[in-house]
């Protein structure tokens, strides 16, 4: 009895989440997909390291941190671009995007240097 209700409740929760998510604007969805892509790549790298060992540790770190860093910057972009966010009303989305690009370029320069 309890189990079926829990299942039903979770199902109802998921439904509401999905419908709410469908309402988000398209550009935010693009950023979400991008974040997902970055995190997934990081996970695959971690799994690889778990399998073969961390011998060139710097390479592992640079690979994983590049993905995580990109994901973090994308999340920051999402926050700044989101119209519902009152804090960043004054920041134009293009400005946020330019910051995103700049920070990504700097991050990747450091990553390339560290990778070896």
């Amino acid at each position: 009895m309890g189990r079926s209700s829990t299942v039903k409740e979770t199902q109802a929760l998921f439904q509401s989440l999905r419908s709410a998510y469908a309402a988000t604007p398209n550009n935010l969805k693009i950023i979400d997909v991008f974040v997902g892509f970055a995190v997934l790549t990081a996970i695959i790298q971690v799994v690889y390291m778990a399998v073969v060992g961390s011998f060139p540790f710097n390479s592992f770190l640079s690979g994983v941190l590049s993905c995580i860093g990109t994901a973090v910057l994308a999340v920051c972009l999402r926050i700044q671009v989101n119209k519902d966010n009152k804090e960043f009303k004054d920041v134009a989305p293009e400005r946020a995007f330019a910051d995103f690009i700049l920070c990504n370029l700097v991050l990747h320069l450091v990553i390339m240097n560290f990778m070896g």
């Binding site: 398209n26 969805k29 693009i30 997909v33 991008f34 997902g36 892509f37 970055a38 997934l40 790549t41 695959i44 790298q45 799994v47 690889y48 399998v51 073969v52 060992g53 011998f55 134009a92 989305p93 293009e94 400005r95 995007f97 330019a98 690009i101 370029l105 990747h108 320069l109 390339m112 240097n113 990778m115």
Partner: protein
């Protein structure tokens, strides 16, 4: 008779040392022998540069009776003809060319001879320096002697004589020219030879007073001669850096040539004492076998002049102007009493030819009354005088024998120069008997013998003893000569060597015949550095006249010494085997860090593929979301900037890839600087354009 090799070698070394040490007091000179001849063949075995060197070699071979190589003769003759025919040769070259011709007797054409003679005659007339006189007059003498031209005379012989004489000094030396104040003995020899040449070339008699003064000059020159204690006489220059001074050998050679050629052309006695002539011969023989060609020539030519002096005289003429030296030599100065060697003495001329009939007498031995005067028998087969038997009472040892030479024909005394009393060091060696040898270990307190063993030095058995620090070691033996007298050798040494190579040396003292040494270990404990253990005992007995000198290991001694106290001296460090210290060390095997295990390539490639999957997922997601490029500006300028913006980002990413692959950080940063500025500018334009478009849409 069996001899131990070390003893034999010790004997040879001792004899060599003693011969050197006796050199000052009483020397032995050996006449020219076959070793000279073989050395000459080696030294002159090369091609010769100048006619002077060629002449030296040819003359040396001629005197020593050696055969020269055939091609040497032909090349030399060619050189001679060329020099005589050429008009540009100087006096010295023509002079030596004629000298070479004298030995080789080449074919010369008469024209060049005529030309040469006229050159020489003009040179004599106009000569101003000694060397010009020497070469020109010498050349004319050679032409005359070789019978190349008959009836050759000097135009103004007396004038030439006076000119040469004018260059002489009061001490018997000569100057090279009137402008040069330096005088030398070498020049004196050349001048005398030149004067002799003038006398032989003059058509009339030269004034006898001039000849008399020249003879006085020769005697004064001999007063300048240097002397050694053993009677050697030689000439040297006063100033070392004088013109053309080449050492005493050359100066003495020059003087010898001068006086022999002068004596050959004058009559009357020169009054040169025989000892001086003998001294000159000793000087040249004392050189031994010279090392260089010029020294060899000087030695051999001078000895030939001294010896061939007699060939100039006819046998009717009993006046001898310079005495001919005879050398007394011994083929062997070491005689063995055991082998009953007979003492041999040889008397010969300096070149090794036979002496006239004479008798050698042993007058006495210095400081030894036992040896009496006796005559030596002449063995005509081997041309030696033999002392058949020394009397039985002569023992082993070193002696100085005094010999005297007595001519059979008393007239020969004036002709030949011999030493009045020749002192010769002689060694008589023999076997020394070693007897009554014993070694014992004594108890120090009571003086009683603990162990005593007899030693036999001829045999090979080793004794084995043991002692502690309270005991003494005693070694005794007796040495007697073949005649039974006590014998004291140069060396009687006992050596004890520890296993660690630390050794101790003691001298064995003697009283009369008996040799004894007592080692009291109580007093020697500190000297032995408190080292206990096995010591090897070695005894050395040796002397120059002892034929059976020996050093042998007698046996071993196990010595028990007390423990070393703390402050005891340490034994000296023994030399380390050089190879172990300086030789190559062991090879070092380096251990490197094992390389990390890498995963197999397939696994890596699989994961590479897996990494690409999320990218694909991203692209699919974008497509599902309905991504489009509608907002891309359509107007030309903004479109361009937008395109450049995208290209710029692409370029930066490409730069990063290159940076990873091969660039370094500084190059990258430099390029990034340029690209970054460009990107900023372009990006700003694009994004501001986009922003203005969106705001227009918003406001609209």
């Amino acid at each position: 008779m069996a001899r131990s090799l070390p003893g034999f070698l010790a004997q040879i070394v001792a004899v060599a040392l003693i011969c050197c040490s006796f050199a000052a007091a009483a020397s032995i000179f050996q006449p020219i022998s076959d070793s000279h001849r073989s050395a000459a063949l080696e030294i002159f075995d090369r091609s010769f540069g100048s006619l002077e060197e060629t002449y030296e070699a040819l003359r040396t071979f001629d005197v020593l009776g050696l055969e020269r190589k055939p091609d040497v003769g032909t090349t030399a003759c060619q050189s001679v003809s060329q020099t005589l025919a050429s008009s540009s040769s100087n006096l010295k070259d023509i002079f030596y060319a004629l000298k070479v011709n004298g030995v080789l007797k080449c074919e010369l054409d008469a024209e060049s001879v005529e030309g040469t003679v006229s050159t020489f005659q003009t040179a004599v007339g106009s000569a101003s320096s000694l060397l010009e006189f020497y070469h020109s007059i010498g050349g004319l003498v050679l032409v005359k002697d070789q019978a190349l031209k008959g009836d050759l005379f000097l135009a103004d012989a007396e004038g030439a004589f006076r000119s040469i004489k004018a260059l002489s000094q009061s001490d018997g030396r000569w100057r090279y020219s009137s402008s040069n104040p330096e005088s030398s003995t070498h020049a004196a020899g050349l001048a005398l030879e030149a004067l002799a040449g003038v006398i032989s070339l003059s058509s009339s008699e030269i004034d006898q007073s001039l000849i008399g003064t020249t003879k006085n000059d020769i005697l004064k020159l001999f007063e300048q001669a240097e002397k050694y204690d053993d009677g050697t006489v030689y000439f040297d220059e006063e100033e070392i850096d004088a013109h053309e001074s080449q050492g005493p050998l050359t100066s003495t050679w020059s003087v010898v040539r001068g006086i022999t050629s002068f004596a050959a052309v004058t009559s009357g006695n020169l009054n040169l004492p025989g000892e001086k002539v003998l001294g000159l011969a000793k000087f040249f023989l004392g050189v031994g076998i010279p090392g260089g060609a010029k020294d060899f020539f000087n030695q051999v030519d001078s000895l030939a002049c001294l010896e061939s002096n007699r060939q100039v005289l006819s046998w009717n003429d009993s006046l001898c102007l310079i005495a001919i030296p005879l050398i007394l030599s011994l083929p062997a100065t070491v005689n063995s009493l055991t082998r009953k060697d007979a003492l041999k003495v040889k008397v010969s001329t300096v070149l090794g030819s036979d002496a006239p009939p004479l008798m050698v007498k042993l007058v006495r031995a210095k400081d030894t009354p036992a040896i009496e005067s006796q005559e030596l028998k002449f063995d005509s087969e081997n041309k030696v005088h033999v002392l058949e038997t020394l009397k039985k009472s002569v023992d082993v040892g070193k002696y100085i024998f005094v010999f005297e030479i007595v001519f059979h024909d008393p007239e020969h005394k004036k002709v030949y120069a011999v030493e009045s009393k020749a002192e010769v060091p002689i060694f008589l060696t023999g076997a020394v008997k070693v007897g009554n040898a014993e070694i014992a270990v004594l108890d120090s307190d009571l003086g009683s013998t603990e162990t005593q063993k007899n030693l036999d030095f001829a045999g090979e058995n080793l004794v084995s003893l043991s002692a502690n620090h309270l005991q003494k070691l005693r070694l005794r033996f007796q040495l007697t000569t073949p005649l039974g007298h006590p014998f004291k050798p140069h060396q009687a040494i006992l050596k004890l060597t520890h296993g660690s190579k630390v050794d101790h040396i003691f001298v064995v003292g003697s009283t009369g015949k008996q040799f004894e040494i007592i080692l009291d270990f109580l007093g020697l404990v500190e000297k032995f550095y408190y080292l206990s253990g096995k010591y090897e005992i070695q005894l050395t007995v040796g002397d120059a006249v002892m034929e059976n000198s020996f050093f042998k290991v007698i046996g071993h001694l196990d010595l028990d010494l007390p423990e070393a106290p703390e402050k005891a001296p340490r034994p000296p460090v023994q030399p380390v085997d050089a190879y172990s210290r300086f030789g190559p060390k062991a090879e070092i095997a380096h251990i490197f860090r094992a390389p990390e295990k890498r995963p197999p390539q397939e696994l890596s490639l699989t994961f590479l593929g897996l990494t690409v999957l999320p990218l694909l997922g991203f692209i699919i997601g974008l497509l599902r979301l309905g991504v489009n490029l509608k907002n891309f500006p359509s107007a030309a300028a903004p479109a361009l900037f937008a395109a450049l913006f995208h290209l710029g980002i692409g370029a930066v990413l490409l730069l990063y890839v290159l940076f990873w692959l091969k660039l370094d950080l500084f190059t990258t940063l430099k390029i990034l600087g340029f690209l970054g500025v460009f990107l900023l500018f372009v990006g700003h334009r694009t994004l501001s354009h986009l922003a203005s478009t969106t705001s227009k849409v918003k406001s609209a």
